[in-house]
Each structure stands twice: as C-alpha cells, then as structure tokens.
Symmetry: C2
Subunit: 195 residues, 2 copies
C-alpha cells in the first residue's frame, strides 16, 4: 500500500470550521483536501491501494490523525468542499464513512505505529537524494510537511526509523503537487517492472 503522512500544523481539530472558508477558519483545510484528492483519485476511479493520514495540529484539540483509505472510501467527491465536509462529519463523529477514521494520537505515535508494521519512510526534503537516482520501495510511507514545513524535531523522530530523505528536484512544489508527482513516479516504475 502507498501511504502518505501530511503534517498539517494549522488544520483545525474541531468540526466548527466553515466550508465557505477552508483556508481561514479551517486552518488551510483547502490544502489538506487537495492532498487527499491527489493521494486517492484517478480519472473516474479511486486508488484502492493508497491511503493518507492527515496529522492535524490546529486549534482547539490537537493532535488528531484523520486517515482516508482508498480501499474502503465510499461516496466522496474529489472537490475540496466535499472532502472538507467529510472531515467535518468525521470530527463531529457523525455520518460515518468506512474509509475515514479519526484518532487522537500524535504524529510520533502514528510514525511508531507505522514503523512497528515494518514501514520504510521517505521524507520529502529539498536537500534529499534526487528521486530519479533511487529505486523506490513498494509499500512505503511518504512524509510531507504543509506550507509551513515539517517541524525539525518531527523530522528527526522519523529519521530514527528506516528512512531516506528524497527530493523531487530544484522546484519547490505545493505538498499536494508532491503527492501527484510521487504517484506518477511510482506508477511509471510499476509499469517498467511489470514489462
């Protein structure tokens, strides 16, 4: 399974944000929704082999980990408002979706959990090894920061596990774009290796 972890420093942790103001009242919930869209959607299909964990550190009850699993997700559209509405439902613990979970665990607890299941971590980092020089391992976890970046202490924590710092080149992309590019790189390598 392809897994993504987004550290979302401002994403709110209560359902009282406004769907009409995802950047402001949602604490950049627009960015979060775009990352979820890019992690899980293909044209006319959902990537059943992918999931994304949003680690929300915004007000009022951080941390909260909101996970979207392509394998079991049902009835969600790829637009920002619809994805955010499902996050709102999940935070309010109403209208359950089999593909969405909410847990009050921290970034480090999530990383420990994934590591205990044998995950290999790729940390997106501008000074990392260029992705084109690497063979990417299947069933990996890609760790990304939001517009404010991954805090140094959290990066250090991941770096205690089996990991590699990787870079997508010299351009500085939005987190959501990084996810699209990572899928693209993985898709191409899967195609090559199956030829």
């Amino acid at each position: 399974m392809r897994q993504f972890v987004l550290y979302a420093r401002k994403a709110v942790t209560s359902p009282d944000f406004a769907l009409d103001d995802l950047p402001g009242s949602g604490g950049r919930m627009d960015l979060v929704a775009r990352c979820i869209c890019n992690a899980l959607w293909l044209s006319h299909a959902v990537r059943r082999d992918s999931c994304i964990h949003i680690v929300a550190y915004g007000r009022p009850n951080p941390p909260v980990v909101i996970s979207f699993y392509g394998e079991t997700l049902r009835g969600v559209s790829p637009d920002e408002r619809n994805i955010a509405a499902w996050i709102k439902n999940a935070l309010a613990a109403k209208r359950k979706n089999p593909g969405i979970t909410v847990r009050t665990i921290s970034f480090q607890q999530l990383i420990e959990e994934l590591a205990s299941r044998g995950a290999f971590f790729y940390i997106l980092h501008e000074k990392g090894r260029d992705i084109s020089t690497l063979e990417l391992k299947a069933d990996s976890v890609f760790v990304l920061g939001d517009h404010l970046g991954l805090p140094r202490n959290e990066e250090k924590f991941v770096a205690r596990c089996a990991h590699e710092r990787i870079s997508l080149g010299t351009s500085s992309y939005l987190a959501s774009h990084c996810i699209t590019v990572l899928h693209y790189e993985l898709d191409r390598r899967c195609t090559w290796s199956s030829r």
Copy 2:
C-alpha cells in the same frame, strides 16, 4: 511560456453558478479550478512563465475562453472557491484582475490564434508517444480534455497544426494531475539542460 488549454465541456459560461456547488451548478468548475491551481502555483509563489486557457462549453453562452496568466495575476489564492470566485467576477465583467481575461471565442479560434504565433501543440492522449521518450520543446501548448475528454473533431483540428500526441504512461490521471506532471517533467528537463 508554458501554456495549457483545457476543453471544459460542461463549465458554465455565466456568473450565476453557486460557489457552494462548483461540481453541479458550476458544471465541474471544481475541476477547472484545480487545473488552474496546478498550472500556476508553486509553493509560496506563482509560476510567472505559465498560463492556462479554459475553453468553457457549458450553458448558457458557449463558447467562452477564460485565460489565467501567471505573469500578471494578482490577489488570487490557490483554493478552488477563490479561483472560482475570480472566474465568476470575470464572467460578470466586474472586479478586474490583470491576470484574467474572458473572450467569446471558440476552441478552434483559440488554437488558430496560438498557432499563428508559432505554437507547437502537445495533445494529451492515452495512445500518444510516451513522454519519457520525447524531448519537449520550450514554449509549447499542452491541450487537455476534461473528465469527458477532448471531442474527436477538436482533436483533429489541433492535429492540423504542428503537434505531437503524448502520453503520461498507463495510468489514467485527472486533467489537473496531468498538468502537475507536465510541469514536473518540464522542470526536470530545464534543470538538466542548465547544468
């Protein structure tokens, strides 16, 4: 300049759509907004060397070409609602933005105009040549269809100009994801060629 042309079969051509319902009342204006975001945004910056033309064929007054120019765009945020609000303003001919134009010309008129300025066209096509086997020309125009695809007669029209059909591999991506991947491929080649 990197240019993208999106044929948006259902995108509405009047400002009376609801910002709360971009997929429905906007005729997949969510998809349109995501394509604009991916064509023009980097992390904390706008791509000044890029533009995107949305050719809207939805009700009630098609066709309309809405163009977003990174070079002159001001005050727009990358979230779907904000981009859609600017499209609404532009269609209503109020609150001008120097980076947004609206014209009542057709897809074919737009293609003719770009061709007359010497554009080379890349048509995104599942049966096209794999992008990894190509040297991409600078200052090209990439032509994409929306979720319903590019109509066959419009594709034939572009194919009368200097062009190449290209593919991003065997996965079928959202139009907005294709734009991100095209930028990524171009960015990498620019880096290599400047080394």
